[in-house]
C-alpha cells in the first residue's frame, strides 16, 4: 500500500493540502449558513458535517478520482509480478542472466554503431561536407592534383568552398628535447570549409600558400601542454624543423581532424601544427603530383550527383587543355561521413548482425522460459479468469512479469556493458574510425533498457496469448488436478529450442568461416618476414639537409654505423615499409611496348637503400638487389616486383630491359617477390623501387634486422644516431611484428567479436535445451517412475531424455544449415582463402552444435536416470 501511495504522489494533479483547504472552505460556508439560521456554533458545525460529509472521507473519494485507474491496476500487477518472480528464483536468475548478457553485448555494439555510424561528425552542417577525388579505372580514389583544385575553385558552381590538406610532420625544438609533431599542411580555405576558425590569431592567407612561408597555427592540445596556454604565443616565433616559424593562430579545443585517405592523420587524431600548403611548385607538378586530400562543402541543397556532374565539367575542361595528365579521368565526390568510416562500416555491420542474432536467440530463450512460467501460473490465471478477469487484464498480468524481468535484465545488462567497455576499447584496433567517440552515454543506456524491455515483452506475448485463449473450464479443471503439461506446450517449447539452435548454428558457421580465413592468412606467404625487425622513421629538416647529396651521405653513414652494432644482421632504409597504407602510383613507359588501348601502365613507386630487402628478408626472384655501386652518379637502375614483370613483360625476362619514368630511362636489375598492400589484400600491385641514392627523399623508414629481441638494440641505434645528429628524432619506433599486428587488427577484432557471439549463441542454445529437458523430466516423473518400476534400465532412461535433446539439436542444425549460404554470402568481404560454402566449416559448425546439444541434454538425462521410482510415484 505504501508503494502505491508513493507512486500516486508522483502523478500530476493537485496536492492533498490544496484539496483539503478547498473542502474546509466548503464546510465553513455550510456551518456559517447554519449559524445564520440561528444555530449555536457547535451545532452549526455538526449539522454541516452531517449534511455534506466529513473532509477526510470526501478526500478518500476524491483521491480515487485523481489517478488514472489503469495505472493503479498496473501498479498492482507489477507488485504481484515482483512477488511471483522472487518466489521462482531459478527462473528469475536464468532469465535475467540470459537477458543481461544479450543486452550487454548489444549495448556494446550499439555504442560502436552509434559512435561510428550514427553520431554526426563534429563539424558545422556535416552533411554537406564531401571529399573530392580524381577517378580513373585503376585508381578510383586518386588524390586531387593541385591544378584540379585551383580549377574547381575557379569554375565549379556547386561548391561553396574547397580546401586541400596533406600530412607533414614537423620537428619541434622547444626547451631541451626535440619532439616530432603531427603536422598537416593546408590551404587557406581548409578551415573555412570545415566551418572553424582559430580562437586566437588568424587563419592562413591565400598569399601564404608558398613553400617559403614560415607561419604556423598551433593545435589546442600542444598550445596547452608545451606553451602553457600562453596567449602571447601568437606573433612569437618557435623553432620547427630547425627554422624560425611565426605562430599566427591557435585552434579551438575539440577541433577534430577530418581524416584523409592519403598522407593524413586519422579522423579525430590530435594534430599539433598546421602550416600552409605550398602550391608554388613548377607548373607541371601542379597537374602531375597527386599528394593532397581535398575536402569541400556543397552549396545548400546540392545533391551529390549534381556536384559530380559539375566537377566533371571542370575535369573535361582540364582534359581538353592537358590531355597528357587528365585523359580518362573523372571527378569523384563522396560524403565525408562515408569516407571517415570507410571499410570499417563492414566490420560494424557484421558485428551488428551477429549481435542481433544473439538478441533473437536470447528472446526465444526467454520465450521458452515464459511458456513454462505461464504454465506454472495456469491455475492462478484460470481462477482469475473464472472470477471474471478480462482477457486483457490477464495478458497484462502475465506481461507485467516480463516487464519486471526486462527492467532487471536491462539494468544488469547495462552495468555489465559499463564494466566491459574498457575491454571492448582494448580489443578495437587503435586506428578504428572514430574510436574516441565510442562510449556509454545516456542514449546507450536508454537503448539497453528499451532493448531489454522489448525483448522480454515480445518473449512474453506468445505464451500470454496462448494461455488466455484456452477455454477456461478446461484449464481450470486441468490446473486443479495436475499441472501436467499438454503435448502442445512441449511442442511449442520444442519449436523454440529448434529455432535457437538453428540461429546459434548460423553464428557458429560464420565464426568458423572467419577462423578458417584467419588460419589461411597465417599460413600465407607474405613475401617478407616480419619477425626480428625494428623499424623507425627519420625526417630530414631543410636546414642542414637541403640537398640530396647531404641526405645521401647521412643515410649511408648512419646505415654503415648501425650495421657495425653487434647483433645487427642487416640494415637498410626505404621510402616506406609494407602494410602501412602506402599506395602512391605513377605511370611509366616501357620503351618498345606500346600501351594497349585503355591501359594505363602504373606502378607503386618506392625507394630503397642497399640492405632494405635483405633486412626484410624479401626474396629476390631474379637478377640482383641494390648495392653500393648504385650511387648517384652510376647508371639509373630499378628493382621491380613479380606482378609488374608478369603484367607488363608477359613471357619476357625483364632483367636488363629498360623502363622510363619520372622522365628518365632506368634499367631493371632485379625482380623481387610480391608483397600486398595489406595482409588480406587479394593480389599485389605492380611496384618499382629506385635506389635511395639516385632519388633521395626528405624522409625515410629504416629497417634493422637483428638477432634476439629486436627492440633490445633500439637504445644502441639511438646512441649511434645521436653521434651523427643530436637533434634528429627517431619517430614511430616499433617492431615490424607490431606493424603487422596493426595491419590485421580490424580483422582480428571482427573474428574475436564473432567468436564471442557464437559462444554466446551456443551457451544460450544449451540453456534452452537444458531448460526444456529439465522441465520435461520433471513433468514426466510419474511416467519415468512407472518405467523404472517395470524394469527400464538407467541407460534406457538416460537415452530417452538425452536422445530427445539430440533430436532437437539435430533438427536445429538442419534448419540452421539452410541459412548458411545466406550468411556466407553476407560475409564475403571478410573471407580469405575459404569459400562461403567451405566444406570444413560446414562440418565443424554442426558438429560443435550437436556436441553442445549432447552436453546440455546429458545432465537432465542423468537426473532422469538417477531418480528413485518410489519417490517419483509417491509424489503424485
Amino acid at each position: 500500500m505504501k508503494i502505491r501511495e508513493r507512486l500516486r504522489r508522483l502523478m500530476p494533479g493537485r496536492s492533498d493540502r490544496d484539496l483539503e483547504s478547498e473542502m474546509r472552505f466548503h464546510l465553513d460556508m455550510e456551518a456559517e449558513s447554519g449559524r445564520r439560521r440561528g444555530l449555536p456554533d457547535d451545532d452549526a458545525r455538526r449539522q454541516a458535517v452531517l449534511r455534506v460529509g466529513g473532509v477526510s472521507s470526501a478526500m478518500e473519494e476524491a483521491r480515487d478520482q485523481r489517478t488514472f485507474p489503469w495505472l493503479a491496476g498496473t501498479v498492482a500487477d507489477l507488485r504481484h509480478a515482483c512477488v511471483g518472480l522472487f518466489r521462482q528464483p531459478g527462473f528469475l536468475a536464468i532469465a535475467t542472466t540470459v537477458l543481461a548478457v544479450a543486452v550487454a553485448a548489444n549495448t556494446l555494439i550499439f555504442t560502436v554503431v552509434n559512435g561510428v555510424l550514427l553520431k554526426p561528425l563534429p563539424f558545422r552542417d556535416p552533411g554537406s561536407l564531401v571529399r573530392v577525388f580524381e577517378w580513373s579505372e585503376r585508381n578510383p580514389k586518386f588524390p586531387l592534383s593541385i591544378l584540379n583544385y585551383l580549377e574547381n575553385r575557379r569554375q565549379s558552381q556547386t561548391l561553396q568552398s574547397i580546401g586541400l590538406y596533406t600530412g607533414g610532420d614537423m620537428e619541434l625544438m622547444h626547451g631541451e628535447r626535440p619532439e616530432r609533431l603531427t603536422g598537416v599542411r593546408v590551404t587557406h580555405d581548409f578551415f573555412p570549409t570545415l566551418g572553424v576558425q582559430p580562437i586566437l590569431g588568424r587563419n592562413f592567407l591565400e598569399t601564404e600558400l608558398k613553400g617559403s612561408a614560415r607561419v604556423v597555427i598551433l593545435g589546442h592540445a600542444i598550445w596547452r601542454s608545451r606553451f602553457h596556454s600562453d596567449r602571447s604565443v601568437v606573433g612569437q616565433t618557435i623553432r620547427l624543423n630547425r627554422e624560425s616559424w611565426t605562430v599566427i593562430g591557435v585552434m579551438p579545443l575539440g577541433f577534430q581532424h577530418p581524416g584523409g585517405s592519403y598522407r593524413s592523420p586519422l579522423q579525430g587524431e590530435t594534430v599539433d601544427v598546421w602550416c600552409p600548403l605550398g602550391i608554388d611548385i613548377r607548373e607541371q607538378g601542379l597537374r602531375y603530383f597527386h599528394f593532397t586530400n581535398a575536402i569541400a562543402r556543397l552549396k545548400p541543397e546540392v545533391p551529390l550527383e549534381r556536384a559530380t556532374q559539375d566537377l566533371n565539367r571542370v575535369v573535361d575542361d582540364l582534359t581538353r587543355r592537358f590531355p597528357d595528365a587528365y585523359t580518362n579521368k573523372r571527378a569523384r565526390v563522396e560524403p565525408l561521413a562515408a569516407e571517415v568510416v570507410g571499410q570499417s562500416a563492414w566490420t560494424v555491420q557484421l558485428i551488428m548482425a551477429a549481435g542481433l542474432i544473439v538478441m533473437i536467440v536470447a528472446c526465444i530463450n526467454i520465450a521458452g522460459l515464459c511458456v513454462a512460467r505461464v504454465v506454472a501460473r495456469q491455475t492462478e490465471l484460470a481462477i482469475r479468469q473464472a472470477l471474471g478477469g478480462g482477457r486483457w487484464r490477464l495478458i497484462r498480468a502475465v506481461l507485467a512479469e516480463n516487464l519486471v524481468l526486462g527492467a532487471l535484465g536491462g539494468i544488469t545488462g547495462l552495468l555489465l556493458a559499463v564494466l566491459t567497455i574498457p575491454v571492448l576499447r582494448s580489443i578495437l584496433p587503435t586506428d578504428f574510425p572514430r574510436l574516441h567517440e565510442i562510449n556509454i552515454d545516456l542514449l546507450a543506456g536508454a537503448f539497453a533498457v528499451s532493448a531489454a524491455l522489448l525483448t522480454s515483452v515480445v518473449a512474453g506475448i506468445v505464451p500470454a496469448f496462448r494461455q488466455t485463449m484456452s477455454r477456461r473450464e478446461q484449464s481450470l479443471s486441468r490446473g486443479i488436478r495436475v499441472t501436467e503439461a499438454g503435448h502442445g506446450i512441449r511442442s511449442l517449447r520444442g519449436v523454440l529450442v529448434v529455432a535457437e539452435v538453428a540461429l546459434a548454428c548460423v553464428l557458429c558457421f560464420g565464426a568458423a568461416l572467419l577462423v578458417r580465413s584467419g588460419m589461411q592468412l597465417a599460413t600465407r606467404d607474405h613475401g617478407f618476414q616480419t619477425s626480428g625487425v625494428t623499424t623507425f622513421q627519420l625526417a630530414f629538416p631543410r636546414e642542414g639537409y637541403n640537398n640530396g647529396a647531404k641526405r645521401r651521405a647521412f643515410i649511408s653513414e648512419a646505415l654503415r654505423r648501425w650495421r657495425e652494432i653487434s647483433g645487427v644482421i642487416a640494415a637498410g632504409a626505404g621510402s616506406s615499409i609494407p602494410w602501412t597504407g602506402y599506395d602512391d602510383n605513377t605511370s611509366f613507359d616501357i620503351p618498345g611496348r606500346p600501351a594497349k588501348p585503355g591501359e594505363s601502365i602504373q606502378a607503386r613507386y618506392q625507394k630503397a637503400t642497399p640492405g632494405y630487402f635483405e633486412a626484410l628478408r624479401w626474396p629476390l626472384r631474379r637478377g640482383r638487389l641494390f648495392d653500393e655501386g648504385d650511387h648517384a652518379d652510376a647508371k639509373l637502375v630499378v628493382v621491380i616486383n613479380d606482378v609488374l614483370a608478369r603484367r607488363y613483360f608477359e613471357g619476357i625476362d625483364p632483367v636488363d630491359r629498360e623502363i622510363k619514368f619520372f622522365g628518365r630511362t632506368r634499367r631493371i636489375v632485379g625482380v623481387v617477390a610480391d608483397v600486398r598492400d595489406y595482409p588480406a589484400a587479394l593480389q599485389a600491385e605492380p611496384a618499382v623501387w629506385m635506389p635511395e641514392a639516385q632519388e633521395p627523399d626528405s624522409g625515410i623508414s629504416v629497417v634493422v634486422r637483428s638477432s634476439g629481441d629486436p627492440l633490445a638494440i633500439a637504445p644502441r641505434l639511438r646512441e649511434t644516431l645521436a653521434t651523427l645528429d643530436r637533434e634528429l628524432p627517431m619517430a614511430e619506433l616499433r617492431t615490424l611484428d607490431a606493424v603487422a599486428t596493426a595491419a590485421q587488427a580490424e580483422r582480428r577484432f571482427a573474428v574475436l567479436a564473432c567468436q564471442a557471439f557464437a559462444g554466446l549463441g551456443l551457451l544460450l542454445a544449451a540453456i534452452g535445451i537444458y531448460g526444456l529437458l529439465t522441465y520435461v523430466v520433471q513433468q514426466r516423473r510419474k511416467e519415468i517412475g512407472i518405467r523404472m518400476a517395470l524394469g527400464a534400465t538407467r541407460a534406457t532412461l538416460l537415452w530417452m531424455v538425452t536422445g530427445s535433446g539430440l533430436r532437437l539439436g539435430a533438427a536445429g542444425v538442419v534448419a540452421g544449415l539452410l541459412f548458411t549460404p545466406l550468411a556466407g554470402r553476407a560475409m564475403t568481404a571478410f573471407l580469405y582463402g575459404v569459400s562461403a560454402t567451405d566444406t570444413v566449416t560446414l562440418i565443424v559448425a554442426p558438429v560443435l552444435m550437436v556436441m553442445t546439444a549432447l552436453v546440455a541434454s546429458a545432465v537432465p538425462g542423468w537426473i532422469a536416470a538417477r531418480s528413485q521410482p518410489m519417490s517419483a510415484l509417491r509424489d503424485q
Binding site: 494533479g13 493537485r14 490544496d18 484539496l19 483547504s21 478547498e22 473542502m23 472552505f25 466548503h26 464546510l27 460556508m29 455550510e30 449534511r51 455534506v52 460529509g53 473532509v55 472521507s57 470526501a58 478518500e60 473519494e61 476524491a62 480515487d64 478520482q65 485523481r66
Partner: protein, 115 residues
Amino acid sequence: MTNKEARAGVLQGTLDLMVLQTLASMGPQHGYSIAARIEQASNGALELNMGTLYPALMRLEQRGFLKGKWALTENNRQARFYSLTAAGRRQLEVEKAGWAQTAGTIHKLLTEDIS
C-alpha cells in the same frame, strides 16, 4: 467500492451536466456555491455531499472541461473558483443534446406505452 459506484452510477452523468450548466449560466463559482445552486434548483431535493461533488469537479478538471483557480470571495475569503473552458462549453452542448434525447425517449415511452 460498490457503494461509491452505485451512487456515482446514478448521478455521474447528470451531475456533470448540472455542474457544467451551473457554471455556464452563473459564471465562475466555488464548490459551495455550485452545490447551493443545484440544491436550490432542485428545491432541496439534491443535497450534494462533498464526497460526491469534489470527485466530480476533479474529474471534470482532469478532462479539461473546468479550470480551477484560487481567488477571493465577496467576503474576502480564499476559495477555489471553477470556470468553464472552451472544451467544457462544447461538452455542455453535447451533454445537453444527449440529455434531451434521453428525456425525449423516456417521455415517449411513458406516454405511448399502450400502442
